[in-house]
Symmetry: C2
Subunit: 314 residues, 2 copies
């Protein structure tokens, strides 16, 4: 039995044919080029699926990971700021084309599911996945169930409030979200704030500084960059302690570009999280993702399999 | 089929015989008198159960709600500060006495379950219950599952961190928990802090002021008490927004002594929560508990029924 997995990102479209064991049997990728509009992107997805479609085997289902709020029951993408999409009935479009069930899910939720089925989370019925990059996304498995919430809008772990009164404004419009103090965007903003304060920052032009620049300078021993990364690690630790108290999971998995900073950064996060746990009974391993760049495709595969098993309407 | 429900609190023990429909068929209550020690309290529970035990019907199971961390798999109460208990094998003790399955659960989780099965939460597969009294307890139903976590320590919703850097210290030892800024204890502490600052507080002796005193003064129009209650409502709203983003529930239920403040307090909480939601798609009704003083007994009943249905080892 084979499945089609689609990882639709703001930058790239990745499509694969997979088997249920998590093997990628064929794979293609294209730039998304969202600026060309919804129809052009859907045409590119359809073309990519045709390229990996099996010659002589039935396809059980398709799974699609999308960056933005969507209705998992109808497969309609409500908004996807990175794509400029609004109310796109993606599941219907792909089902009409290929005549197999198609399930559309939030990319971070699907990544959590992929790590649970095929990656670092295997065997854990309670786990929390965080992806820390431009924003902070999350996915939760609790009691062996993917937490999507009543309308598929749950597990927005980057939008727990950790600095309610005086925190910086978040990209979501709210104040003091975890994403506003610990994402890649937040790290870059703190670097610009340090420059604006007149701190001797190690970047000649701080207007274009990225989280990667800050992490590299911190790794080289720059004290200002070190303090910025320390602050992000502190808030990630606080967030993880909150997730320990809410979900009592057996594992925390961290992914995303910001986690490409060295092990010193992961170790800082672990230390802060442990300090903020109510008791040591909550403390669990905090590990990196195991699936790397494949997490999107394997998450989409895992989601298609889960929804098929649930017998949800396609 | 009948069940025995036990609501073991720091002040009172309540025991009832119930049917599966949530009717209380017989009920007794005694002061807990925890200072007399573990054995005296267990003897009192056993005596109370004997009083409501049916004359001529089999008992399907017993459910017991306990205020403190416990292992729901073994029924051992790990610590219960209000009782002075440590590592008490309560389920075993009651099962040895009565020879029916006995399930012990966290009281706030059981209250959520009771509201879900018999109270304000009927029909909601995704709901969050908060009890705001001395501390803040929580219970979550997500995808129709009671969220207990891997070791029964989950849903500690009072211990999400909302003021990570500068928040007050919480009773749990951590900093800036929701409980530290919005519980009855926090409201009383803010009243004492106002007095210490020299504010013209409306209480002659602020050392013994309670959350109830503050709420009453606020209802009478006292501006200092009003500002304190407003601050607590703000943080409860922030917490609810965080739970909306995490669980995407269809209902929030609020109970506990602090909620006995008038509807003006509930309305403030609703306003702050709505302001802090990422989008209106997350906003749901925020209502009071429906079961009142019976929530503990009906929660214990619902828990016994749930565990029986799961076929968990008794």
């Amino acid at each position: 039995m084979v499945y089609i997995a689609v990882d639709l990102g703001g930058t790239n479209i990745r499509v694969a044919r997979c088997n249920a064991e998590g093997q990628i049997l064929a794979r293609v990728g294209y730039p998304t080029r969202a600026e060309e509009g919804v129809e052009a992107v859907i045409a590119r997805i359809i073309h990519a699926i045709q390229e990996v479609w099996p010659a002589d085997e039935p396809v059980e289902a398709m799974g699609v990971g999308v960056p933005g709020p969507l209705d998992p029951h109808t497969g309609v993408v409500l908004t996807a700021p990175n794509l400029g999409w609004e109310n796109v009935p993606l599941a219907d479009r792909l089902r009409d084309q290929f005549h197999v069930p198609c399930f559309v899910g939030n990319d971070a939720n699907l990544a959590a599911l992929g790590e649970w089925q095929y990656g670092a989370g295997r065997g854990h019925k309670h786990m929390v996945y965080l992806t820390i990059s431009t924003g902070i996304g999350g996915g939760v498995i609790t009691h062996g169930v993917l937490l999507e919430g009543a309308h598929g809008l749950g597990a927005e772990l980057g939008h727990i409030v950790v600095e309610a009164k005086e925190g910086p404004r978040c990209g979501c419009g709210q104040i003091g979200c975890l994403e506003a103090v610990a994402s890649g965007t937040a790290i870059a903003r703190m670097a610009q704030e340090a420059w604006a304060r007149g701190d001797p920052v190690p970047w000649p032009d701080p207007s274009g500084v990225t989280a990667k620049d800050v992490a590299e300078a911190a790794a080289r021993g720059d004290p200002i960059a070190g303090a910025i990364m320390d602050r992000a690690a502190f808030y990630l630790g606080v967030g993880i302690a909150t997730f320990w108290h809410i979900f009592n999971p057996t594992l925390i998995i961290l992914g995303g570009g910001v986690m490409k900073a060295g092990d010193w950064f992961l170790e800082k996060i672990r230390t802060y999280a442990r300090e903020r746990a109510m008791t040591l009974a909550y403390v669990t391993p905090i590990v990196r993702t195991a699936l790397g760049d494949h997490v999107g495709l394997l998450g989409a595969l895992a989601y298609a399999r889960m929804r098929c098993a649930q017998g949800s309407p396609a």
